[in-house]
């Protein structure tokens, strides 16, 4: 199976260095639309969709393979190898932060630097660890995603044409940015929110920057600080942006933070 087609890979930019962006749970590569183009002058930009999201090949979704984050990490390594990337900069949002960590452990020469946006090594609280969620809340989330399945099919096929406030969108994609097969969405949610990668952090050998938002209920400051404390030699920058998706809500801040690091 051709990884580049399977993961809807898009390559752009004129630079000699490589930069890979990985989207998180909920949306697809479009969430980098305000950030990635800023680096096209200096980098070769690689964007992709995880299997099950965006324009990826849904028929490639395998319950067994994608029941752990390693399955997604393997895909990422495959994509990078298919493009012969080396010493790339990896920018991963949300759960893709850990997917990037796993990829870098599997293929140590792949990334020269990593930028983790809103990372969390584990979402469910544990003894002496605050992840932010209880198991009951995650179970509620999974059930809730089913409730939005019906609304999903109606709302997720956007009629962008009708949005005269943002005419530039009218010419762009006709696919919805957050639409995916509801079964796969539920499974990805489960994998994400029940993941635990705390033990993988100390093994990271790549210089890593963590971008932490304030008032991010998904990955709180405490969680971000934990990640920084466990990855050797890592740095953390506290953004003024709030919420979980600074790449959309405060892209300029994210761009300058990344630029300063690479």
């Amino acid at each position: 199976m051709d990884a580049l087609a399977r993961n809807n890979v898009h390559v752009s930019g004129r630079g000699r260095r490589d930069m890979v962006f990985a989207h998180g749970f909920g949306c697809d590569q479009n969430m980098w639309r305000f950030v990635a183009p800023e680096f096209e002058g200096d980098f070769k930009i690689v964007l992709f969709d995880h299997v099950g999201a965006g324009g990826s090949d849904l028929s490639a979704y395998d319950k067994g393979k994608y029941s752990t984050l390693q399955g997604y990490a393997d895909d990422l390594v495959e994509i990078c190898n298919a493009l012969s990337l080396k010493d790339a900069v990896f920018v991963g949002h949300s759960v893709s932060a850990m997917i990037g960590v796993l990829a870098s452990l599997k293929a140590p020469d792949l990334f020269a630097r990593m930028v983790l946006v809103g990372p969390s090594a584990r979402y469910i609280d544990d003894v002496d660890y605050v992840g932010g969620f209880s198991e009951k809340q995650i179970a509620e989330l999974l059930e809730f995603l089913e409730d939005n399945h019906m609304g999903w099919s109606a709302a997720m096929a956007p009629s962008i044409m009708g949005n005269t406030d943002r005419p530039e969108l009218a010419e762009e994609l006709t696919n919805s940015f957050c639409r995916t097969d509801p079964e796969i969405a539920k499974a990805f949610a489960r994998v994400t929110f029940t993941s635990d990668n705390r033990a993988d952090l100390p093994r990271v050998k790549v210089p890593t920057l963590i971008l932490q938002c304030s008032e991010d209920i998904i990955a709180s400051e405490e969680v971000g600080k934990f990640v920084r404390s466990r990855i050797p030699g890592s740095e953390i920058v506290f953004l003024k942006a709030t919420g979980h998706c600074p790449n959309l809500s405060a892209p300029a801040e994210v761009v300058s933070a990344i630029r300063a690091y690479v």
């Binding site: 949300s94 509620e140 409730d147 939005n148 019906m150 609304g151 709302a155 406030d165 940015f177 008032e215």
Partner: protein, 372 residues
């Protein structure tokens, strides 16, 4: 200065039949209408300056951060999403909401407007639909598993029954080949061994077809559009060879292309003709015809002889029904039953008329399959 009345804009906003709130570019609630305040039991002033997700349950908060907010940013609007508010009393308030961004001429975000409708009944209904569909899916998956196991069992059973038969045939062939048996009577015994084995093999086929049909699932077809006539001709030839003293007349006019399971239709024809040969007048021809007309394919088998008794007509297609003739030479009484199963599987039917002049079985099916 005009007096404010019940239909002035401010009032329309406050007391709209829906909840209405606006969120500033900083993500904090600017305005909220009285309806939403009443629904949630949270005072309007408690909303102002807070973030929307503070009023949702945890699942809603996560969904807001991972789907709603990003989609609004990327698309400018998001319609018909479902979220749950948490009322002041700690209860769940399920709603359906629309949200749209409002931007100025330079594209700067002014505010986001969110409208919510109470959706308790609708959400409950939808949840029931989702639940029953997932039950259905599970049921279908189990059925598919059971069907696969049943198919495997039938295949193994068929193989285990046919293997010893093949051995018997092989034994007869060995004896034949050896040339040691020279007497006419002995050679006839070898012939009879072979023909008896064939009869047994046919019985096994019938039983397995019956098992497939009765244990559920019905007969699976493998349709294609290859010509049917040659198959029918071959069936008639085999029956002529088996009963050389009988006359079988054919009249085939299949002009339109026909998508069917040729083997099964051949089997249906064979069963109908066999039935006609068994029960019809021995000195009269058995007639078989087939044609396509309009959107229908029909195949009929007619014979002369004693009409079928009224009582028997009702039970003709029942399994194991053998009518008056009780003779193991004529099989288990499954032929017509299996024929009707094949007819059904093709979305068709078999009709019978029986008078003093003739008995006629007519199979009809639509050319375009209505059932898959």
């Amino acid at each position: 200065m005009s007096e404010s009345g019940p239909d002035d804009y401010r009032d329309l906003f406050e007391h709209a039949p829906c909840g209405y709130l606006t969120i500033g570019p900083d993500g904090r609630i600017r305005k909220v209408n009285a309806t939403l305040a009443v629904w949630t039991g949270v005072g309007a002033d408690k909303f102002i300056g807070r973030r929307l997700h503070e009023f949702l349950n945890m699942a809603g908060r996560i969904y807001y951060e991972t789907h709603i907010a990003p989609l609004l940013r990327m698309q400018g609007f998001f319609n018909e999403f479902a979220i749950d508010f948490e009322t002041a009393a700690g209860e769940r308030l399920p709603v359906i909401a629309n949200a749209a961004e409002r931007r100025d001429a330079d594209g700067g975000l002014l505010f986001t407007a969110v409208v919510v409708l109470k959706a308790t009944d609708r959400r409950r209904y939808e949840r029931q639909l989702v639940d029953s569909r997932s039950e259905l899916r599970k049921g279908l998956a189990t059925e598919r598993e059971t069907a696969e196991l049943r198919e495997q069992f039938i295949a193994v059973l068929g193989h285990d029954l046919r293997n010893p038969l093949a051995a018997i045939s092989a034994g007869a062939r060995i004896l034949q080949r050896s040339g040691a048996l020279k007497e006419h009577k002995e050679l006839r015994v070898l012939d009879m061994i072979n023909s008896t084995v064939t009869r047994m093999s046919d019985l096994i086929d019938d039983i397995l077809d019956f098992a497939r049909g009765r244990l559920g699932g019905g007969i699976t077809l493998h349709r294609d559009a290859r010509p049917l006539e040659p198959v029918l001709e071959q069936v008639v030839d085999e029956l002529r060879t088996a009963s050389p003293q009988r006359v079988i007349e054919t009249s085939f006019e299949i002009t339109s292309p026909l998508k069917c399971d040729r083997t099964r239709i051949g089997q249906l024809a064979s069963n109908l003709i066999g039935n006609a040969l068994t029960h019809g007048a021995k000195d009269q021809p058995v007639r078989i015809g087939a044609k396509t007309e309009g959107d229908e394919f029909s195949l009929w088998v007619a014979n002369a002889g004693e009409p079928i008794a009224d009582a028997a007509m009702l039970r003709l297609f029942e399994p194991f029904f053998r009518g008056e003739v009780r003779n193991s030479r004529n099989g288990l009484g499954l032929g017509l039953h299996i024929a009707s199963q094949i007819a059904q599987a093709h979305g068709g039917r078999i009709d019978v008329t029986s008078t003093l002049e003739e008995t006629r079985f007519v199979f009809t099916m639509p050319l375009t399959p209505t059932t898959s």
